[in-house]
C-alpha cells in the first residue's frame, strides 16, 4: 500500500515537474523584453512599404462612395525608345498612397475609339501595379508613324472604376533628343551632350538653358558624375568630366547617360552611350581555385572528393533499388 502510494506520489511529482518545465520554457519564448513592440512589428513594416499594402488598399477604399484620386502622366524618351508612364494615387491619412489594379485608358492626341490603321485614339489599356504605376512602351510601328511629327499629346483616362471617381490627365510634349560624344584631352575624359529639338521648319534646333544631369550606369543604380547645375549653352551643348577611377564592366565598357528630367516642354529625355573604358571589372576578387571563389573555381580535391563520395553512396542506393526489382521478380517465379 505504502509502495503504491509512493509510486503514485512520485508519478505526480514528475508530472508536475514536466508541466512546470514546459510552461516555463514556452513562457520564456514569449517573455523577452519589448514584446509589445515586436508584436506590432509587421504592422510597422507594412506602413513602411506601401507596396505590401496593396491587398488592403482595396478594402480600405470607401465602399459607400467613390474615392477621389490623383492621376499623373509622364513621358520618357531614351535614345530612340519612348514610353508613357501613369501613376494613380489617393490621399490616405494625409499621405499619398498608390492605387493598384486600376484600369487606365491611354490615348494619343484625342479621346476616341481606336480605328484600324490610325495611330490616333486608344493606344492601350494599362492596369496599375501595387505602387499605382503602369508603363506603356511605344512600339517601333508607332515611332515610325510619328517620325514626321514634333509635338504629341498623350491622354490618360480612368472611367467607370468601381472604387474610384473618373479622372483624366494629359501631357503634351515637344520632341527632343540628346546625342553624346566623348573626348580625351591630357588624360581627362569628357562627355559632351547636345540637346536638340524640332519645329515645323528646323529639324535640329539647339535647346538653350536646359538643365542636364550626367550619370554612369552601375549595377543597381545610376552614379551621378559632372558638376552640379550644368545646363546647355546657345548651341545646346554641355560637357562633363568622367572620373578616371570608375570601374568598367567585365567587357571593359561603361554606359554614360545625359538626361533632362521632367522638363516642362520636353518631359524626360535622355541619351545613353557605351564607351570603351580602361579599367575592366574583375569578375571575382578571388583568383584561382579556392574555398572562397565562385563555384566553377572550387578546389579540385573538393570537387573530386565530394563527387566520389556522392557517386559511391548513390551507387549503393541504386544497387539496393535493383534488389527491390529482384524481389519482385522472385515473387513471380515458382518455388524451387
Amino acid at each position: 500500500m505504502l509502495n503504491r502510494m509512493y509510486n503514485l506520489t512520485g508519478k505526480r511529482a514528475i508530472s508536475l515537474l514536466v508541466i512546470l518545465f514546459m510552461a516555463f520554457s514556452v513562457g520564456q519564448a514569449f517573455s523577452q523584453k519589448d514584446t509589445t513592440e515586436k508584436v506590432k512589428a509587421p504592422a510597422d513594416q507594412k506602413a513602411a512599404k506601401p507596396a505590401e499594402k496593396s491587398g488592403s488598399d482595396q478594402k480600405a477604399a470607401p465602399t459607400t462612395g467613390k474615392a477621389a484620386i490623383e492621376l499623373k502622366v509622364s513621358y520618357v524618351k531614351s535614345n530612340d525608345s519612348r514610353s508613357v508612364k501613369v501613376h494613380v494615387s489617393r490621399k490616405e491619412n494625409k499621405k499619398s498612397v498608390g492605387c493598384d489594379s486600376v484600369s487606365v485608358s491611354l490615348y494619343f492626341d484625342e479621346v476616341k475609339a481606336k480605328e484600324a490603321n490610325d495611330i490616333t485614339g486608344l493606344l492601350a489599356t494599362l492596369v496599375t501595379d501595387e505602387n499605382g504605376d503602369a508603363e506603356f512602351k511605344l512600339t517601333d510601328k508607332f515611332n515610325k508613324a510619328i517620325a514626321d511629327r514634333w509635338k504629341y499629346t498623350f491622354i490618360a483616362s480612368i472611367e467607370n472604376d468601381k472604387r474610384y471617381k473618373n479622372a483624366e490627365e494629359e501631357v503634351t510634349i515637344s520632341d527632343a533628343s540628346i546625342t553624346l560624344t566623348f573626348d580625351l584631352k591630357d588624360s581627362v575624359k569628357t562627355v559632351t551632350a547636345k540637346l536638340s529639338g524640332r519645329n515645323d521648319t528646323t529639324a535640329d534646333l539647339p535647346i538653350n538653358k536646359a538643365s542636364v544631369k550626367f550619370y554612369v550606369k552601375r549595377s543597381f543604380s545610376l552614379l551621378p558624375i559632372g558638376a552640379d547645375g550644368l545646363s546647355t549653352n546657345k548651341k545646346g551643348i554641355v560637357t562633363a568630366e568622367i572620373p578616371n577611377d570608375i570601374m568598367a564592366d567585365t567587357n571593359g565598357k561603361i554606359t554614360v547617360i545625359a538626361r533632362i528630367e521632367e522638363h516642362a516642354k520636353f518631359a524626360t529625355v535622355e541619351g545613353r552611350k557605351d564607351i570603351e573604358w580602361k579599367t575592366p571589372r574583375i569578375a571575382s576578387e578571388v583568383q584561382g581555385r579556392s574555398l572562397w571563389s565562385v563555384g566553377k573555381n572550387a578546389p579540385v580535391p573538393l570537387v573530386v572528393g565530394s563527387c566520389f563520395i556522392v557517386f559511391l553512396v548513390w551507387g549503393v542506393i541504386f544497387y539496393l533499388f535493383y534488389q527491390l526489382i529482384r524481389i519482385k521478380k522472385l515473387s513471380k517465379t515458382k518455388a524451387g
Binding site: 512520485g10 508519478k11 514528475i14 508530472s15 515537474l17 514536466v18 518545465f21 514546459m22 516555463f24 520554457s25 520564456q28 519564448a29 514569449f30 517573455s31 523577452q32 523584453k33 519589448d34 514584446t35 513592440e37 515586436k38 508584436v39 512589428a41 509587421p42 510597422d44 513594416q45 507594412k46 512599404k49 505590401e52 491587398g55 574555398l291 572562397w292 571563389s293 565562385v294 563555384g295 572550387a298 578546389p299 573538393l302 570537387v303 565530394s306 556522392v310 553512396v313 548513390w314 549503393v316 542506393i317 544497387y319 539496393l320 533499388f321 534488389q323 527491390l324 529482384r326 524481389i327 519482385k328 522472385l330 515473387s331 513471380k332 518455388a335
Partner: protein
C-alpha cells in the same frame, strides 16, 4: 556484425511456431483507431491545416510576415529544422547501431525508430523550403550552388539520408505489407490496392528474405556515416560562420551527441504510446525494453552533458569580446530562464532520475523522455537565436525592435504545423502498417522463414 544466416528453428516445434505466428499476426497487424486515436488525428489535422494556411499567407506576403529581419535571419524555422534533423538520427542509432552490435532486444522497436526518422527528415527538408523567401527558386540550389558551401552539402546529405531511411523502412516492411495484403480482408479497396502495390508481390520465400537481410546489413553500414554526416554538416552551417557561440571545432560531435539523445527520447515516447494505448503491444514492448532504452538515454545524456560543459565552460572561462555579451545573455540575461530550464529539466534531471531503476519504468521514463524532447527543441532555439542577436560588428543606430526576435503567430503556426505533420506521418503509418516488425519478432522467437513461407502462403 549481425548474423544474417537463417535462424535455427530447432528450438521451437513447428506447431508451436505456427500458433505463435498466428498470434503475432493477430496482435500486430494494424487495426482501426478507437475514439482517442480518431481525436488525436483530428487534432493533428487541425494544427497541420492551420500551419498550411499560415504558409499560404507567407507565400503571398513573403517573409515579412515573420519576426525575422536583417539580424535574426534564421528564426524558429531553422531551429525547428535542426530539431528535425536531430531526431531523425534515431533511425541510425536504433536500427543500425543496435543491429551492428547485434543487440537482441531491438526487434520490436526498430521500425518505430525508422518511421520517426523518415517523418523527421521529410519535415526537415520541408521546413528548409518554408524558410526560403522564394521557394520557387529551390532548383537554383542545384543549378547554381557552390560545392564549397555547407548549404549545398546539407541539401545533398538530407536527400541522401532521406532515401536511405526510406529504404531502411521499406525493405524490412515488405513481409509486413504482404501480411496486411493477405490477412486484412475487411478493408477498403484503395487500402488493398496499396498493400498489393507496395508488397511487390512478396511471397515470403527464403530467397526474398535473404535479399532483404543482406540489403538491411548494407543499409545499416551505409546509414551510420551518412547519419553522422547529416548532423555534422548541419552543425557546420553554424560552425563555419564566424559568430559568437558557433565558432567551435566541437560542434559536429556536440550536435551528433545531442541528436542521439533526443532521438532515443523520441523512441521512448513512441514506445510508451504503443505500450499504453495499443492492446497486447505490451507483450512485445516490455518493461525490459524501457529499462534498456532508459540506460541508453542516460548514457547519451551524459555524453551530451560532457559536450555542453565543453561548449559553455571553455568560452566562459575566457569571456572574450562579443562572446562574453552572448554568454552573459544566456547565463544571466533575457535567455537565462530558458537556458537554465533546458540544461536542468532537459538534461540534469533526466540523468538524475533515469539513472535509478525506478526512473526507467514506463511512465516515469515517458515523462522524462517528453522533457528531453521539449528541452531539445528549446535547446535548438538557444543555439540559433541568441547568437544571431550578437554579431561581432556592433548593432548601431538601429530601431530597437531589430535588436530582438519574437516569432510571429504565423511562424509559431507553421512550426507547430510541421511538428503535427511529422506526427501525422507516424500516426498514419501506425494505422496502416505493422509498427512492430512481425517477421523480425518471429525470428527473435525462433520461427524460421521456411515456416513463415510454408504456412503463410497456404492461406
Amino acid at each position: 556484425m549481425a548474423d544474417i544466416k537463417e535462424v535455427d528453428s530447432k528450438a521451437i516445434s513447428e506447431p508451436e511456431a505456427i500458433a505463435m505466428l498466428h498470434q503475432l499476426n493477430e496482435d500486430l497487424l494494424p487495426k482501426k483507431f478507437g475514439i482517442r486515436g480518431t481525436l488525436w488525428v483530428i487534432l493533428l489535422l487541425i494544427i497541420a491545416g492551420l500551419g498550411v494556411i499560415s504558409y499560404i499567407s507567407q507565400l503571398r506576403n513573403g517573409l515579412s510576415i515573420t519576426g525575422m529581419g536583417d539580424y535574426v535571419s534564421w528564426g524558429i524555422y531553422i531551429s525547428n529544422f535542426v530539431f528535425f534533423v536531430a531526431i531523425s538520427l534515431v533511425g541510425s542509432l536504433i536500427t543500425a547501431v543496435l543491429y551492428l552490435l547485434n543487440v537482441p532486444w531491438r526487434a520490436p522497436i526498430t521500425r518505430l525508430a525508422e518511421v520517426i526518422a523518415v517523418a523527421a527528415i521529410m519535415f526537415a527538408g520541408l521546413i528548409i523550403i518554408v524558410d526560403m523567401g522564394r521557394p520557387d527558386r529551390i532548383h537554383h540550389l542545384f543549378l547554381y550552388g557552390r560545392i564549397q558551401s555547407p548549404i549545398v552539402w546539407d541539401i545533398i546529405v538530407v536527400i541522401t539520408y532521406m532515401t536511405i531511411s526510406l529504404l531502411l523502412l521499406y525493405l524490412p516492411l515488405l513481409p509486413g505489407i504482404s501480411f496486411c495484403r493477405d490477412r486484412l480482408t475487411n478493408v477498403p479497396k484503395w487500402q488493398k490496392w496499396m498493400y498489393r502495390f507496395l508488397s511487390l508481390g512478396w511471397k515470403n520465400k527464403p530467397e526474398q528474405y535473404k535479399i532483404v537481410k543482406r540489403s538491411i546489413a548494407i543499409l545499416c553500414v551505409l546509414i551510420v556515416p551518412v547519419a553522422l554526416s547529416i548532423h555534422t554538416v548541419t552543425s557546420w552551417l553554424f560552425a563555419t560562420t564566424f559568430r559568437p557561440g558557433w565558432d567551435s571545432t566541437n560542434f559536429g560531435a556536440y550536435f551528433v551527441s545531442g541528436a542521439f539523445m533526443v532521438g532515443a527520447a523520441g523512441v521512448i515516447a513512441g514506445m510508451f504510446i504503443l505500450y499504453r494505448f495499443f492492446p497486447r503491444y505490451d507483450q512485445y514492448i516490455t518493461k525490459k525494453h524501457f529499462d534498456r532504452m532508459g540506460k541508453l538515454l542516460v548514457l547519451l545524456s551524459l555524453i551530451y552533458l560532457y559536450f555542453n560543459i565543453n561548449e559553455y565552460l571553455v568560452p566562459s572561462y575566457k569571456m572574450k569580446g562579443e562572446e562574453a555579451n552572448y554568454l552573459h545573455e544566456l547565463f544571466s540575461g533575457d535567455y537565462a530562464p530558458m537556458f537554465w530550464s533546458v540544461q536542468i529539466f532537459g538534461m540534469i534531471i533526466p540523468i538524475c532520475v533515469v539513472i535509478f531503476k525506478k526512473g526507467r519504468k514506463p511512465l516515469p521514463l515517458f515523462i522524462i523522455a517528453s522533457m528531453v524532447i521539449v528541452g531539445a527543441w528549446f535547446k535548438r532555439f538557444l543555439i540559433v537565436i541568441p547568437t544571431m542577436l550578437h554579431p561581432f560588428l556592433p548593432m548601431q543606430e538601429l530601431p530597437e525592435k531589430w535588436k530582438h526576435y519574437m516569432p510571429t503567430l504565423q511562424e509559431w503556426s507553421i512550426t507547430a504545423g510541421s511538428l503535427a505533420g511529422a506526427l501525422l506521418v507516424i500516426t498514419f503509418f501506425v494505422r496502416y502498417f505493422p509498427i512492430i516488425s512481425i517477421w523480425e519478432v518471429a525470428e527473435e522467437k525462433g520461427i524460421s522463414h521456411k515456416v513463415i513461407y510454408e504456412h503463410l502462403n497456404e492461406q
